[in-house]
């Protein structure tokens, strides 16, 4: 009985973090919630008796993908690249 409660709560948390990751107003916050989703997925894999996948999901899904997307989010919400470079990139990008 207690296992059903645990699994039910975990599934609910997975769905809620998925929705929150996609529809957060701020892009940075969306990526952070996505990292949390990755960690919850690692828990789900443990509950499914798949420790290899849990290790890989924690390292890759939460770790590498998280850092990659955080870096991208920071740069994509920054200033337009043409403004800061004074036009040199516009020629180069042609």
């Amino acid at each position: 009985m207690i296992e059903w409660v645990l699994d039910g709560l975990l599934v609910l948390a997975l769905l809620v973090t998925a929705v929150a990751a996609l529809w957060s107003r701020d892009l940075f916050r969306a990526v952070v919630v996505f990292i949390a989703f990755g960690l919850l997925m690692a828990l789900a894999w443990v509950r499914l008796q798949a420790p290899d996948i849990a290790l890989a999901e924690a390292a890759i899904g939460a770790g590498l993908t998280g850092v990659l997307l955080l870096d991208a989010a920071r740069h994509l919400t920054g200033k337009h690249p043409d403004e800061s470079d004074g036009g040199s990139d516009r020629e180069a990008g042609r």
Partner: protein, 233 residues
């Protein structure tokens, strides 16, 4: 108006998809499967060369999937590297901005590499293996990059090429060697299975780490020109 209609259409379609998929999952789950895979696996486990069933499946019973996977990784790595526009592989702003991270790296990097080595070795008889070890090694590289350490080995050169190609080519070589020996493609000779798996896992770890790290480093776009090969910018 059109956007409201499209919104409704998308919602209806996704709900229908959810219902159909849910029904499919329910009906597939209702009857027991005709094949008992875990039973088959535990019978054949000794012939594979390792004790952990997932590693045995990945590197022996379904090694073709792993071969294709490392091939896909190499292609993605080549595509990502060819689009890279980082002028220098060291970001000088990062080094001075977070001195705590820069100092902690001296402790983290050796420990993480040790952890990667342990995960690779532990894959033989407990959860672990090449993928997890490769991911931890790639994370070590990412940590070094975040801390602002210049990583010259990622420039187009010997080390990068070795990293990209070693995993796939060694794996393919072992696969073809079985064909030349007269057996099927990717059939390891049972006496050599364990050592072949160890060798393949080692090069796979290295390749996976280099590809993921190269893809990570290729993402930012700095001002300036691409470094030509042979230049030390």
């Amino acid at each position: 108006m059109m956007s409201g209609f499209k919104n409704l259409l998308t919602t209806v379609f996704c709900l229908m998809l959810a219902v159909v998929l849910g029904f499919a999952v329910w009906s597939i789950g209702a009857e027991p499967s005709p094949v008992n895979l875990p039973g088959h696996l535990s019978e054949n486990l000794e012939k594979s060369g390792v004790e952990h069933p997932v590693t045995a499946v990945l590197l022996n019973f379904r090694s073709y999937d792993t071969l294709l996977e490392i091939g896909v990784l190499v292609i993605a790595g080549i595509a990502g590297i060819s689009m890279a526009r980082t002028s220098s592989l060291e970001d000088p702003e990062l080094r001075t901005s977070d001195s705590l991270l820069y100092a902690l790296q001296r402790w983290f990097v050796p420990l993480m590499l040790l952890l990667a080595g342990y995960l690779l070795w532990a894959g033989a008889d407990r959860p672990g293996g090449a993928f997890q070890a490769g991911a931890v090694m790639a994370s070590t590289g990412v940590l070094m990059r975040m801390g602002g350490i210049p990583m010259d080995f990622l420039r187009p050169g010997t080390m990068l090429r070795l990293g990209l190609t070693l995993g796939f080519s060694v794996f393919l070589l072992v696969a073809l060697a079985s064909v030349w020996g007269g057996e099927a493609f990717l059939a390891y000779p049972p006496a050599l299975a364990k050592s072949l798996i160890v060798v393949i896992e080692g090069v796979l770890t290295f390749s996976i780490a280099m590809v993921l790290l190269a893809l990570f480093v290729s993402a930012p776009i700095n001002r300036g020109v691409e470094p030509e090969e042979g230049e030390r910018g």
